[in-house]
């Protein structure tokens, strides 16, 4: 009796349980992967700003607003006064612009939802990458076609190293200009 019950436990119950757990784990792992890596994350923003309109249709250079991108670590989110450079004149009557103008008049900052975020212990520098000629789109996707910005690439160490180690395959247009990026720990972690 005892023996057969033990047999049953070991031969049937255990493998089934193990199988179910493993399948559940792998299914969850792959299904929830984009969420975990935030791919497809497109939160509501305080102002319905369209990159498609500004960057795509009107061809405004990214650097007009993201002024830090060639100079420092952060590309920087434009301060409200940059928006107002144009919008004191352009499209003053639109509801979203009215909202913007109100923020500006109240001297309140716009609190944008953060979309791209690296882990705290990784130190990324925009200037180094952009000054080498790497296009924003390589990491941020086709921003000029997005009405609402969403994350396209995974921002994991694997994704960084993929490019750093295979620069010529990933960035064929810059074949003559760049080498592989550094892949030692201290390049990003300190």
């Amino acid at each position: 009796m005892l023996k057969s019950q033990l047999d049953y436990l070991l031969k049937v119950r255990l493998p089934i349980t193990a199988f179910v757990v493993a399948v559940a784990y792998f299914v969850t792992f792959f299904i929830s992967r984009p969420e975990r890596d935030s791919v497809g994350y497109a939160p509501e923003q305080p102002i319905n700003f369209s990159h498609k309109l500004h960057s795509g249709n009107m061809q405004i250079d990214c650097k007009y607003c993201h002024i830090g991108v060639e100079k420092g670590r952060f590309a920087t989110i434009p301060s409200t006064d940059i928006c107002m450079n144009c919008h004191t004149i352009a499209r003053k009557d639109r509801p979203e612009i009215l909202k913007l103008a109100q923020f500006f008049a109240d001297e309140k900052p716009l609190r944008w939802k953060r979309i791209h975020r690296l882990a705290d212990f990784a130190y990324f520098n925009h200037a180094v990458h952009v000054n080498k000629g790497i296009d924003c789109k390589h990491c941020h996707g086709e921003i000029d076609k997005m009405d609402k910005v969403q994350q396209v690439q995974r921002f994991t160490m694997g994704a960084c190293l993929d490019c750093h180690r295979n620069a010529h395959q990933r960035l064929p247009e810059l074949k003559d200009k760049i080498n592989n990026g550094p892949d030692f720990c201290g390049a990003c972690h300190r």
Binding site: E35, T76, S79, T80, E107, W112, N125, C185
Partner: protein
């Protein structure tokens, strides 16, 4: 080189025990007090339930995107501020009366680091450990935020304007009643503030201003004024000296403008020009950092300095070799004839030939020697020192000393103030950011007197003892939130500018006094006043063609304006005072000497945990002061380190632990001031012991020495946290051979000059590890032990730059201090008068690093530019690396120390702003160590990349290198043949510590040369 080297007296006396201590992984005290019953009593079921619940939550959390917070850009971006880029602002430090120029590094509008301003003539780009750490005082969460009113012993928060009008009311009341308004302040160096105070005096003629500076003793100043009547006191220029004789002075650590003194002193310690080496004799009763750097150090009882000076003067004036003869030779001869050299050396047990050599050296270097007397000495000793310098023609070696615009009051004036309070003629006391209750002599009775005055207004940044004797406390802004100007009395005008909005909406003290003069508070009033003042008073001295606006912003940018009107006056001595004084030979009774603290200034930095945790430069005691005593005397009194004793002097009693220190003079006890304050915040309250309780006006006026004290042993112990034997390099494998391990290598200047001195290097080495070629930049450091004086500025600079946590006294006792760079002290010779060797020790970034091989998760490994990297997020905390590190430089986060220390002191909101955003804040269970400031290397590399050029090694300066007042640390690319680093790495005096392990360290030490005769070498 075959001399016994020891790190502490314990190691010398009990070598076996000490060996065992070095082998064990943990300090003894770590093993105590683990009690399973104290663990949380969570049951197995509960644990499983919590696990299940958290697992379920995790699953739910995985199903949606995580919120990543917000990015909040500026509404209107200020000019020149770019997130991620540092801005530097020139300002002036107000920690002590030196007023060094500083550069404040700010990120996104918050100050994160302070360094010296290279354009400033006072300190030439370097600052002390205290100034480095002063940034913590700005973010101190315990700063006063609102004015507080004392309502029968209870503090009530009031609005600033209410406090202001009650102050104005109190002033008017005192004025109408004809009572005195007493303002107590530090000496005032600000010309504009002095003018405001004068205006205040004009408006309220009953005002009297009292200033004191605890760090500037009275006898020294009085002796100068008597010897050079009507001439301004001066400092000494050590760069001009071939022979330096220090009498009880600690000029390399805390006396005078010590940052400048260090850089001047080491100018004559350059092994590239051995002919310019100075020779330094130090007589001292304590073992100070200055004495540790001396070529000849002679312990001498505090009462013997006039005797010594008399003897030296007698020998010198009778030598017939003097070049100067403007003094009454015959009179002096008869005056000093009682001081016989033979008797002096016999009574003090000093070698006769040593003093003879000193006299010969002084005579051979007339005009290029310096005799300096320490601040604790009495009037007579200072007077004789000035006389000796004058006889030797050294008066050209003085350099200008900063003088306050409103000069210091005498203690007599404070005594008069005390009397007027008792007579009821004082209506109001305004305390401008001082601590008179703590500092002023107890016999003046200010503790009781303050209670007799109806209104006491204290302008304070944070709590101190005087606050508790005030009726109203008005919070004031920190220096980094304030405007200011400082004049050294000769030529240098410095500006201080705010680098951050006042965190708590406070006003600076100048602004409030100005408002009192004007009758109402206006925003930004002092800034406007300052600018107008400069336009009227100082702009004319510049004589430039530019407009005032241009002049103002250029001075603001540079931090300093030096007017060209430097008058060189010749000092005219008055010898008559020397004739009149009564000089005795001194009685060697039991004596206690009060010393200045190394890092706490006058005690105002007691609530700064960074400064309390820097080990004392000699004894490595942290978080306390103690009574230092020689081993011989301790044995005679049957005392051991940590015993509590009671000092009795004139009926007053003082309880303090003792600590046995080698090299202390006989019958001498020394203690540092600044400690033992009550009510100064959670960190500093009751840290250490306050020796000032023994001092009365009489003693403070005549030098910081108490003679004829008695010592009673108490049957109690006190635990002192000394790190002296922590992280010792293990020497068991080689037993007695540690002499030949050549950790410390020293020679004499003489043997170096004639080519006899060679450092021990190992030529033939074999390695089982294949050699790795470094083709690009390879980082390396050189530490010149001839220049390092051990001041500790590097330790604090590293703490601030790298977010190194403070652990607290209990953890220091367990050997868990986290500082990435430490300064090892090695003694050699006899415990009565040892030779001291100091050696900064940090990660050596070995090419074949033993730590790397043993890490099971490859969290520490090597970069292609030769750095031993430490990846925190990969580290699982096995601590194998620390165990395998021969230099013992790895530090483990046994706790989340920010949380663990003082109930999460560092987790308070304001202190989060203190962290350097370029460096990860490490948490519990992670190993850390020196990174060669990899954030600075990366930053320089990124700048070079952005500008499309190659990085040069000389572009990177590590935090310790930047801070080092002696420029003893050199950092750069050793593969660049023209770099300074590769020059020193191949220098004949360069050596590696523990080179025989063949792990190829990348920190080269330059062997110290002592300017001793070979025969004197211990």
């Amino acid at each position: 080189m075959d001399k016994k080297i020891w790190k502490s007296l314990d190691e010398l006396k009990f070598p076996v025990k000490s060996q065992i201590n070095k082998q064990i992984e943990f300090q003894d005290s770590v093993k105590e007090e683990f009690d399973p019953n104290q663990l949380t009593g969570i049951s197995r079921r509960k644990f499983l339930a919590i696990s299940a619940a958290s697992f379920a939550l995790t699953t739910v959390a995985c199903t949606n995107y995580r919120d990543k917070g917000e990015i909040v850009p500026y509404n209107q971006k200020p000019e020149n501020v770019l997130p991620g880029k540092s801005n530097f602002y020139a300002s002036t430090c107000t920690g002590c009366s030196n007023h060094c120029g500083i550069l404040i590094k700010t990120r996104e509008g918050r100050p994160i680091k302070v360094d010296g301003n290279p354009d400033h003539p006072v300190n030439k780009g370097k600052i002390c450990a205290t100034a480095q750490a002063s940034i913590l005082n700005l973010f101190n969460p315990e700063r006063y935020k609102k004015p507080l009113k004392n309502n029968n012993g209870k503090w009530e928060e009031i609005e600033f304007l209410a406090a202001f009008s009650s102050l104005l009311g109190a002033i008017n009341k005192a004025a109408t009643e004809g009572k005195e308004i007493a303002i107590i302040s530090k000496p005032i160096f600000s010309p504009s503030f002095a003018k405001i105070l004068n205006d205040f005096k004009t408006k309220f003629p009953n005002t009297k201003i009292y200033t004191y500076d605890f760090l500037e003793p009275y006898p020294k100043q009085r002796a100068w004024m008597d010897f050079y009547p009507n001439q301004n006191p001066k400092d000494l220029d050590f760069s001009k000296a071939k022979i330096i004789v220090s009498l009880e002075s600690n000029f390399l650590a805390n006396e005078g403008n010590f940052v400048r003194n260090i850089s001047d002193f080491v100018k004559n310690r350059d092994v590239n020009s051995p002919q310019n080496f100075s020779r330094f004799y130090s007589f001292e009763s304590d073992l100070t950092l200055t004495g540790a750097n001396a070529d000849y150090r002679i312990p001498l009882h505090p009462s013997q300095y006039t005797y010594l000076l008399g003897t030296l003067i007698n020998e010198i004036i009778n030598s017939n070799k003097l070049l100067v003869n403007n003094f009454p030779l015959e009179q002096l001869r008869s005056k000093f004839s009682i001081f016989k050299l033979n008797e002096f050396v016999k009574e003090n047990n000093i070698e006769l030939k040593l003093i003879k050599r000193l006299v010969d050296d002084l005579l051979a270097n007339q005009g290029s020697s310096i005799i300096i007397a320490g601040d604790s000495l009495n009037y007579e000793a200072h007077l004789l020192t000035y006389l000796l310098n004058e006889i030797l023609g050294n008066s050209a070696n003085y350099r200008p000393k900063a003088l306050p615009v409103l000069s210091k009051s005498s203690l007599e004036e404070f005594s008069i103030l005390s009397n007027s309070i008792q007579n009821g003629t004082v209506g109001l006391i305004i305390n401008l950011d001082c601590n008179p209750i703590y500092h002023l002599p107890k016999d003046l009775g200010f503790q009781n007197n303050f209670k007799k005055v109806s209104d006491v207004f204290s302008f304070l940044e944070s709590e101190n003892e005087t606050a508790h004797y005030s009726t109203t406390i008005i919070p004031i802004s920190h220096n980094f939130e304030s405007w200011g100007d400082y004049y050294d009395g000769i030529a240098v005008y410095s500006l201080a500018q705010p680098v951050i909005e006042p965190l708590y909406g406070t006003y600076q003290k100048e602004s409030i006094i100005l408002a009192l003069v004007e009758g109402k508070m206006r925003n930004d009033n002092y800034h406007k006043y300052l600018k107008e003042f400069w336009e009227k008073e100082i702009f004319s001295k510049a004589n430039t063609g530019v407009t005032f606006e241009q002049f103002w912003f250029s001075v603001l940018h540079n931090g300093v304006f030096v007017s060209s009107t430097t008058k060189t006056e010749k000092l005219v001595p008055d010898f008559s005072k020397v004739q009149n004084i009564n000089i005795s030979k001194g009685q060697k009774s039991w004596t206690m000497v009060l010393k200045k603290p190394y890092f706490l200034a006058d005690g105002r930095f007691i609530n700064n945990p960074w400064l309390l945790e820097i080990p004392h430069p000699i004894t490595k005691v942290t978080w306390d002061n103690y009574l230092a005593i020689s081993e011989k005397d301790a044995n005679a009194l049957k005392l051991i380190s940590g015993d509590l004793v009671e000092i009795v002097y004139n009926g007053k009693k003082f309880e303090v632990p003792i600590f046995i220190v080698p090299g202390i003079a006989e019958k001498t006890l020394t203690i540092e001031a600044g400690f033992g304050q009550n009510n100064v915040g959670t960190i500093g309250s009751n840290v250490g012991f306050n020796p000032l309780v023994l001092f009365t006006k009489k003693e403070l006026e005549t030098g910081y020495v108490l003679s004829n004290i008695s010592i009673n042993k108490l049957d109690r112990k006190y635990k002192l946290a000394s790190t002296v034997e922590h992280h010792s390099l293990n020497d068991t494998f080689v037993k007695d051979l540690h002499k030949s391990r050549h950790i410390i290598q020293e020679g004499t200047l003489e043997s170096y000059k004639n080519g006899k001195f060679q450092v021990h290097r190992i030529k033939e080495k074999m390695s089982i590890i294949p050699e790795i070629k470094y083709t690009g930049i390879k980082w390396a450091m050189v530490i010149d032990l001839n220049k390092c004086v051990g001041c500790g500025a590097c330790i604090t600079a590293c703490n601030v730059e790298n977010n190194v946590p403070v652990v607290g006294k209990d953890q220091v006792i367990r050997g868990r201090e986290m500082q990435w760079i430490r300064i090892d002290t090695y003694f050699s010779g006899s415990p009565e008068n040892p030779e001291i060797s100091l050696q900064p020790m940090l990660c050596q970034h070995c090419d074949d690093a033993p730590c790397e091989n043993v890490c099971p998760v490859v969290a520490t490994n090597h970069s292609p530019d030769g750095l031993n990297q430490m990846v925190y997020n990969r580290c699982v905390g096995t601590r194998y690396c620390s165990n395998n590190c021969p230099y013992k430089v790895r530090r483990f986060n046994f706790f989340d120390f920010r949380n663990h220390f003082a109930n999460g002191f560092f987790y308070q909101d304001s202190l989060k702003l203190l962290n350097n955003p370029e460096v990860t804040v490490r948490s519990r269970g992670v190993m850390e160590k020196c990174t060669f400031c990899i954030q600075r290397i990366t930053d320089a590399r990124h700048t070079a990349l952005a500008e499309g050029r190659e990085l040069k090694g000389s572009e990177v300066k590590t935090a310790c290198q930047e801070a080092c007042p002696a420029n003893a640390i050199i950092f750069g690319d050793m593969n660049d043949k023209n770099s300074e680093v590769s020059y020193w790495r191949n220098h004949q005096l360069g050596y590696f510590v523990l080179e025989e392990l063949n792990i190829k360290p990348n920190v080269t030490y330059i062997a110290k040369l002592r300017n001793k005769l070979q025969e004197d070498k211990a």
